[in-house]
């Protein structure tokens, strides 16, 4: 191992190599005589100029976050996307058309995200199915991203067609959402009616005295009072009149194990060094 890390009074100082004859070894000659260049697809400066890096970063971060939440079993973050989108909204410098397109795309993406959210809520029981579906959804989203990229790359000729298709898609999604909302509203009304019936049946305390006093037979507090009720004598523990009770309870001779993020400060290393 080199001793470059050791402190020295006078570290080695580089000098200009003396001119004159030099002998070269064969190993000195480069095996690689050509330089590779970044080719298109690897991120050259030309192709990156056409990309919307801000939107891409926002989308990629959102996707990463959603993936993480999915792994934890949480629904994807719908609001987070909107926040990020609003944070990254286009400034004055950009084209109005580009802005419009991006707004449309973001709206569609938001609607999609909401839809998947609802689906997951309904089908939380069927996990296997859900997983398969989740993959499919992911693939879909990946495909969409690809198409987005190619869209943004493509010329302005296709813009009109794309916008029309997008508008149609948007309308369809909106209709689906409306239907879903109507169904949910009906369900809610149903449950509200049921609640009202129950309230009418049991709500009057004069008709239902036991419930009003909180002495329903199911509740645990009621049961304990019921068992305590028959004799009025106070129950005492066997060690109630002792002065020193269970002295060793708080004492722990072993030091608490702490995670230490450094090998040199770790308990293992300390023990090892004290041997």
């Amino acid at each position: 191992m080199s001793n470059a890390h050791r402190p020295t009074w006078a570290p080695a100082v580089g000098r200009e190599s003396k001119s004159g004859s030099r002998s070269f070894f064969q190993q000195d000659f480069s095996a690689r005589t050509k330089l590779k260049f970044r080719t298109p697809g690897q991120g050259t400066e030309g192709e990156v100029g056409t990309r919307d890096l801000k939107a891409e970063l926002a989308r990629a971060e959102r996707e990463a976050l959603d993936k993480k939440r999915k792994a934890k079993g949480l629904p994807p973050l719908a609001g987070g996307h909107e926040g990020a989108g609003s944070g990254l909204m286009i400034t004055e410098g950009e084209d109005e058309q580009v802005a419009k397109r991006r707004k449309l795309l973001e709206e569609a993406a938001a609607l999609d995200a909401d839809d998947s959210d609802d689906d997951e809520d309904e089908e939380s029981g069927e996990k296997a199915v859900d997983k398969g579906k989740g993959k499919a959804v992911e693939e879909d989203s990946a495909n969409e991203d690809d198409s987005d990229n190619s869209d943004s790359d493509s010329d302005s000729d296709d813009d009109e067609d794309d916008t029309a298709a997008l508008m149609a898609e948007l309308a369809k999604i909106k209709q689906e959402r409306a239907e879903e909302a109507a169904r949910l509203a009906a369900e809610q009304a149903d449950s509200a009616a049921q609640d009202r019936d129950a309230e009418i049946a049991l709500g009057n305390p004069l008709l239902n005295l036991q419930a009003a006093l909180g002495q329903t037979p199911d509740s645990p507090s009621a049961r304990s009072t019921a068992t305590a009720a028959p004799g009025f004598a106070v129950k005492r523990r066997w060690d109630d009149d002792l002065i020193f009770k269970n002295q060793a309870v708080g004492q722990d001779d072993k030091p608490k194990k702490e995670f230490i993020n450094d090998i040199l400060r770790s308990e293992f290393h300390r023990k090892f060094m004290s041997k």
Binding site: S2, A12, V13, E16, S17, T33, R38, E63
Partner: protein
């Protein structure tokens, strides 16, 4: 009979024509800075005159001044960077370096004192590749804009070139090494236009390498102590170096010597960072003092920072869009400065990861868009900061 001038044509193409445009830009920038400071000066002079006139007015003025200051502060406090994500245990040692891919903004590279280099996805913080090969801590990194190459310098005195297309190959991704340094390499920089690699470190010389042939094109001698940072530009001065001897040298690559030495720093310079778009640079010395320079003339534009305190600056990052200067300190302290005025805009601290008592910031960089700040720390974490 042929004369000397006939044989050696003195109107040589190697002698560059005077660059009038850059000269004009330089002069206008300089004048702008001069006038901005001149305005401040006249105001203070007026203040002094009025002070002489009457005390009461003076007090009023002080009040007005403080109000103005508070307004300035309110403006400045709009900046609010906060911690978004933590990548815990990113490396096995201190994470000492970070560089974002300068073209796509998709990934970033970190180098560590555990002698590995790791490549991460910027959005998801997923590990893309681990590059091993150095036998001591990595101290310098540079990603090329033109080539799919990564250059690294290390305390083991080697400078290596890694092919980023081969990071998963079993043979390793190193394709070249640049042999010649007799001390650890602390700074690596790529020339933006020529295929030159500029390195420097503990052996007090700056070496210029031809990237392709690995030949040492030049050795630039002159510094009297370790070289801490190297910046390169496509126009003169093409190489700027800062050193622990307290000087910044601007190098004339054609003549292979320094044409200007800036000696205003009274302590050793820990860092120097060039502004990505302006021809200005900012340097920080070990007393916590920052100085801004206008290139190529080396005019001192501004100096700020609380000098005299034991603040050890470990990293500087400049965000060109909002002109924010970030300084990370050895005690985990973070400061955001306004690059133009040099006023302190925000101060925070990092929270050390569980298992570490303190966390010093060793490296930091803004991403290409200025939306994220990456800090690399002594608790082996990479932290991602964003603005509210």
């Amino acid at each position: 009979m042929a004369t000397f001038t006939d044989v050696f044509n003195l109107e040589d193409s190697a002698i560059p024509e005077p660059d009038e445009l850059s000269e004009a830009i330089y002069k206008s920038t300089r004048l702008g800075y001069l006038f901005s400071s001149a305005n401040d000066g006249t105001e203070s002079q007026l203040n002094i005159q009025r002070q002489d006139e009457s005390q009461t007015e003076n007090q009023n003025e002080i009040k007005a001044d403080s109000e103005a200051n508070s307004e300035n502060r309110a403006e400045a406090q709009e900046l609010n960077w906060r911690l978004l994500r933590v990548l815990a245990n990113a490396h096995l040692g201190w994470v000492r370096l970070v560089t974002v891919d300068p073209v796509t903004n998709d990934w970033f590279v970190t180098g560590s004192s555990d002698s590995t280099i790791k490549i991460w996805d910027l959005a998801s913080l997923a590990l893309k590749a681990t590059i091993t090969g150095h036998v001591m801590g990595v101290r310098a990194l540079a990603v090329s804009k033109k080539f799919p190459y990564l250059f690294s310098g290390s305390e083991d005195r080697t400078v290596r070139c890694w092919d980023l297309e081969k990071t998963n190959s079993s043979l390793g991704s190193q394709i070249r090494d640049y042999h010649g340094h007799v001390g650890g390499v602390y700074a690596v920089s790529l020339h933006p236009e020529l295929d030159l690699l500029v390195t420097g470190g503990k052996d007090q010389v700056v070496r210029v390498w031809d990237i392709r042939t690995r030949a040492q094109a030049m050795v630039l001698t002159g510094h009297r102590n370790d070289i801490t940072s190297i910046a390169t530009a496509s126009v003169d001065p093409q190489v700027i170096t800062s050193s622990m001897d307290g000087t910044i040298r601007l190098w004339d690559l054609r003549n292979q010597r320094s044409y200007l030495t800036l000696t205003q720093h009274s302590k050793s310079i820990r860092l120097m960072q060039m502004h990505p778009t302006e021809m200005t640079a900012c340097s920080a010395d070990s007393s916590g003092n920052f100085k801004q320079w206008l290139l190529p003339g080396g005019d001192l534009l501004n100096e700020f920072g609380e000098s005299g305190q034991d603040k050890i600056v470990n990293s500087l990052a400049i965000e060109p869009n909002s002109n924010t200067l970030f300084a990370g300190y050895d005690d985990g302290h973070m400061e955001f400065y306004d690059y133009v005025s040099g006023s302190l805009v925000q101060t925070t601290r990092t929270t050390p990861a569980p298992g570490s008592s303190n966390s010093s910031i060793y490296a930091s960089t803004f991403d290409m868009l200025g939306l994220r700040l990456l800090t690399c720390e002594g608790d082996k974490c990479i932290k991602v900061w964003g603005e509210d």
